[in-house]
Amino acid sequence: MKTLELRYVWEWPVRLTHWFNVICIIVLSVTGYYIGDPFVSVSSTSSYVMGWMRFLHFVFAYVFTISWVVRLIWMFVGNQYARFPAFAPWASKAGWKNIARTFCYYTFVKKELPHCVGHNALAAMAYSGVFVLFLIQIMTGFALYGQFQPGGFWDGAFGWLLPIFGNQGLRLTHHIVMWLLIGFAIHHVYSGWLMDVKEKNGVMGSIFGGYKFIDPDED
């Protein structure tokens, strides 16, 4: 019988940006899908369905970008679980050990749980990838958005992507990354649930309150 202790792991900016990201990804995926494939057609010319979808998409794009920037800043000023070294387990020997251990658990090779205070190594690597995907969405999104005004701010900031990827290439990338993020979200919720059940560390609750149950020996 192990004795776990309650520890404050996720600071409030981490939790806040997490939930902003959740809301943004849901709204941006639904409105973005509609913009790409308008599945609702209306009969009245005085409607403004696509207009509102695009408006929501752009507003939440700004919110999402701010959330991303805040989280980026917190990678430098947050606690050890929020800082960027936590997201690069491949950079340390202990990290590699953690990668192997988590991988063996997930693939049913061993029964020994990874037990991490912050993210387990595989989760951390997934989040690094997702953080990059977020950036790709922001850059491709604003490059496409900037086309309404060539020479304007967003065109100046990200318009240089156009000659590299091509206009349609940017669109396709923006579209495919949305699906990758939806795939990630499914995996993310499942893994959280699995670890909550198996580790009994309250990981699902921790993203609301910030506290996890930690085995002091594993620290």
Binding site: S44, Y48, V49, Y105, L162, I186, L194
Partner: protein, 374 residues
């Protein structure tokens, strides 16, 4: 300072002398004024520039023009010969000195070639080169030769010594259809084939003759090519998206889309977005200038834009009747959405199976009792 409309009108007026000269050449003063005002408007200049434009067209030192055609279909020449605005074709063809144009010149063979070389030598750095069609780089340029010389050599010589080169149509601007995958001849644009040349791109399939005329008038008036965007296109003609000036834009914002050609929405002139219209990714002044004497243009006629004036046209704008290109490496029927949905479903199934296996697995759970940290 207050804006004085009368002053700018005076500045914009065309002198009686110029009008009389054009009348003597058989062009009505009304038509000439119309031409000058259309050019001023096309170039997005204030009305006060009209006088300056009239004088520039009138001047005697108009540069000679050499029009070369390589891997093209003559569609741009056709479009130009049908230039609509009041006698624009006459103006440009009669009073610009078009010394070489394979389709319309009277001379043939050695005489034509001699005229071209003479212009290049005599007016070095002063003439305008116009190129229609892409330039093949494959097989040392052997895929396209004129009078025994490769398109590449001709372009290097003629464009390299020109005051300015105007690439007309998508092929000479960006490679166009000849450069579409797998690009068997290694076709490239003029600016890629002759990197040192001063090139203005006027893409379009075909180009809009109005934009060519306006670009030439700009050159005559100001002695330089108009300001361009990052793809070498003049901002006056390619500065706005088709989508943002489209007459069907209201239907797009409302959420009214034609689902198929000939359906109720299509007959009512609804937005062609779901029929693969590429207006949202294409920069051109088609909606405002239109084609064939302002008669119509593709979207007005009921067909979506195919993005013919964009770089990488053909490859990235196909399939024409779908919004997005194919996902590289997947079959013709696989759209990004189908693949994405498949990915999401596969993820859900995989983790569902993992979950069942994990639920059945015993003895890996932490055996715990909680101690409160304080």
């Amino acid at each position: 300072m207050m804006h004085d409309p009368e002053k700018s009108l005076r500045e914009g007026s065309v002198s009686e002398e110029i009008l009389q000269q054009w009348e003597a050449r058989g062009i009505k003063r009304r038509d000439f004024l119309k031409f000058c005002s259309v050019m001023t408007a096309s170039l997005a200049l204030p009305a006060s520039f009209m006088g300056q434009i009239a004088e520039a067209i009138e001047a005697d030192n108009r540069p000679p023009v050499i029009w070369m055609e390589f891997q093209g279909c003559t569609g741009d020449s056709e479009a130009f010969l049908r230039a609509n605005q009041p006698t624009a074709a006459e103006l440009i063809l009669d009073y610009l000195s078009v010394d070489y144009h394979e389709t319309i010149m009277a001379a043939a063979g050695h005489h034509a070639e001699a005229a071209k070389h003479k212009t290049v030598d005599e007016y070095k750095g002063k003439y305008i080169a116009i190129v229609e069609g892409s330039i093949p780089m494959g097989a040392d340029g052997a895929y396209c030769t004129v009078a025994g010389d490769s398109a590449l050599n001709i372009a290097r010589k003629v464009c390299g010594n020109a005051a300015a080169t105007i690439a007309v149509g998508s092929c000479s601007s960006y490679g166009g259809i000849p450069a579409a995958a797998p690009n068997p001849t290694g076709a490239v644009s003029v600016s890629e084939a002759v990197p040192g040349a001063t090139v203005l791109n006027l893409p379009g399939c075909p180009l809009n003759a109005e934009n060519l005329t306006a670009a030439i008038v700009h050159f005559l008036t100001f002695g330089k090519l108009p300001a361009t965007d990052r793809f070498g296109r003049p901002k006056f003609a390619y500065g706005k998206r088709i989508h943002d000036n489209c007459e069907r834009r209201g239907h797009f914002d409302a959420g009214q889309y034609a689902e198929g050609f000939g359906d109720a929405g299509h007959r009512q002139g609804w937005c062609l977005y779901k029929l693969g219209c590429k207006g949202p990714e294409t920069f051109h002044n088609c909606p405002t200038v239109r084609y064939n004497e302002g008669t119509s243009w593709p979207i007005q006629a009921g067909h979506g834009c195919i993005g013919c004036s964009e770089p990488q046209f053909w490859d990235t704008m196909t399939p024409f009747y779908r919004r997005l290109p194919q996902v590289p490496g997947f079959g013709i029927e696989a759209t990004a959405d189908k693949l994405g949905l498949g990915l999401a479903a596969a993820t859900a199934v995989a983790f569902g199976a993992h979950g069942v296996a994990s639920a059945l697995r015993k003895g890996d759970e932490t055996d715990t009792k909680v101690k409160k940290e304080d």
